[in-house]
């Protein structure tokens, strides 16, 4: 426990977290500091490009093994399963309607790529490099949760929200395509390819991430400011309990798969994190009756900072303990 706290303290004073906090404070103070939409999108394209490519290059370096395939399968199953757990918890802890609860649940099955990256850099900083293919696991986990959320609604409320277009939109979502595409290209071109573009995707990465977290802080702060009213105590508590519950699933899966310490911590983080890009867009189309203020504020305003500050150090500490790493 002392270990977790010291890890967390370390973590809290990293530039990443501090820039997120700066963004939240600026939004609360109603400063006019903003990142233009096009710049924010460019930052996110850069991150997906770099994360995917580095993951692919690392797979090329270490070779494909059975762990890769099994981890992908485990990721897909967890993404589809966790929404049911989340939905159950929401029914117990909150008064949300079926539709709102299902929409929120979908977010928690899916993942947040920035949380993934923050965990990866915390791990690398401690010499606990995770398996490179965890990037592919992250990509796989984006979508299945959406289907579970829709199934939860159709079971309770009847009606079918899916059409062919929506299927395509979910699976060919820009962030999934870019992440998997870069991963595959990284895997094909390997270390040679990585060397060519390392001074673009490796060295400036942490700095770009700081700017992106500043932007996320601004957006999260604006959300909390304008939609904080939807955060009843139950909803608020869910936003911090659910990542812990999710991380247990990740822990179990990681242990079963025999991943490295870093891999287990990362699997925990993926299961603990909640989507705020791909899933909200799909929910607007498929479940327009669900209130976006609830799921966005929960995912970006509560769970994201929770994972960033307390969650990740805890997952790393637990994974280290359990794997003896």
């Amino acid at each position: 426990m002392g270990d977790v706290l010291s890890l967390a303290a370390d973590n809290l004073l990293s530039p990443l977290i501090l820039f997120f906090v700066l963004g939240v404070l600026a939004a609360f103070a109603r400063s006019d500091l903003t990142i233009p939409e096009a710049a924010a999108k460019a930052l996110s394209i850069y991150l997906l490009f770099a994360i995917g490519f580095k993951g692919g290059a690392s797979v090329a370096a270490h070779g494909v093994d059975a762990g890769l395939i099994l981890s992908l399968i485990a990721g897909g199953i967890l993404s589809a399963t966790i929404p049911f757990v989340a939905f159950g918890l929401l029914r117990i802890m909150t008064q949300l309607s079926t539709i709102d609860a299902a929409a929120v649940a979908g977010h928690y099955g899916s993942i947040s790529i920035v949380t993934f990256v923050a965990c990866t850099s915390a791990l690398t900083g401690r010499g606990l490099d995770p398996e490179g293919y965890m990037v592919a696991v992250a990509a796989i986990m984006e979508a299945p949760a959406i289907l579970s959320a829709l199934w939860l609604v159709s079971r309770k409320a009847g009606g079918n929200q899916m059409d062919g277009n929506l299927w395509r939109e979910i699976l060919l979502n820009g962030s999934i395509v870019l992440l998997i595409g870069s991963f595959v290209i990284g895997a094909i071109t390997g270390q040679d390819g990585l060397e060519k573009i390392a001074s673009f995707i490796v060295s400036p990465f942490q700095g770009v991430l700081c700017l992106f977290l500043l932007d996320m802080g601004l957006v999260a702060g604006r959300g909390l400011r304008d939609s904080g009213k939807y955060l009843t105590p139950g909803v608020f508590a869910f936003g911090m309990l659910m990542p812990l519950v999710g991380s247990c699933f990740g822990l179990a899966a990681g242990m079963l798969l025999g991943l490295s310490t870093g891999g287990v911590a990362l699997f925990m983080t993926l299961c603990a994190s909640a989507s705020y890009i791909a899933v909200p867009a799909a929910m607007r189309v498929a479940l327009p009756e669900a209130n976006p203020s609830i799921y966005l504020t929960l995912s970006l305003g509560i769970t994201f900072p929770f994972n960033l500050t307390l969650g990740i150090p805890a997952y790393i500490a637990i994974a280290s303990q359990v794997t003896g790493g």
Partner: protein
């Protein structure tokens, strides 16, 4: 200068619905439209802004169609079918156009 009567239909709709709306317009034989960005706004669900956003969720666009008056009803039916369950505002204004042969 010779002008012709037409209808200017402005549909403010969520960005995630844009392609569904334009597909529906196409199906209703409305092949001419222009799309304008919307930076932010406010309504029953409170204020929003595109600034700093990465997701398409939560942003809106304006789809503007200039149509001959006799095509209006078909257009409105098509638009309504799409916006019905969603956030969306449809306004119709009378206008005059140059070069009606282009419509």
């Amino acid at each position: 200068m010779q002008t012709h009567d037409a209808k200017r239909v402005v549909i403010t709709i969520e960005a995630v619905m844009q392609s569904r709306l334009t597909d529906a317009l196409q199906t209703a034989d409305v092949t001419g439209y222009s799309i304008l960005p919307v930076l932010g706004g406010s309504g029953q669900s409170g204020p929003w802004s595109r600034e700093g956003q990465v997701s398409r969720a939560g942003g809106m666009v304006q789809v503007i169609c200039i149509v001959r008056p006799d095509k209006l009803d078909k257009l409105l039916d098509a638009a309504f079918a799409v916006v019905e369950r969603y956030i969306g505002i449809v306004t119709v204004t009378d206008c005059q156009v140059l070069r009606a042969e282009r419509f």
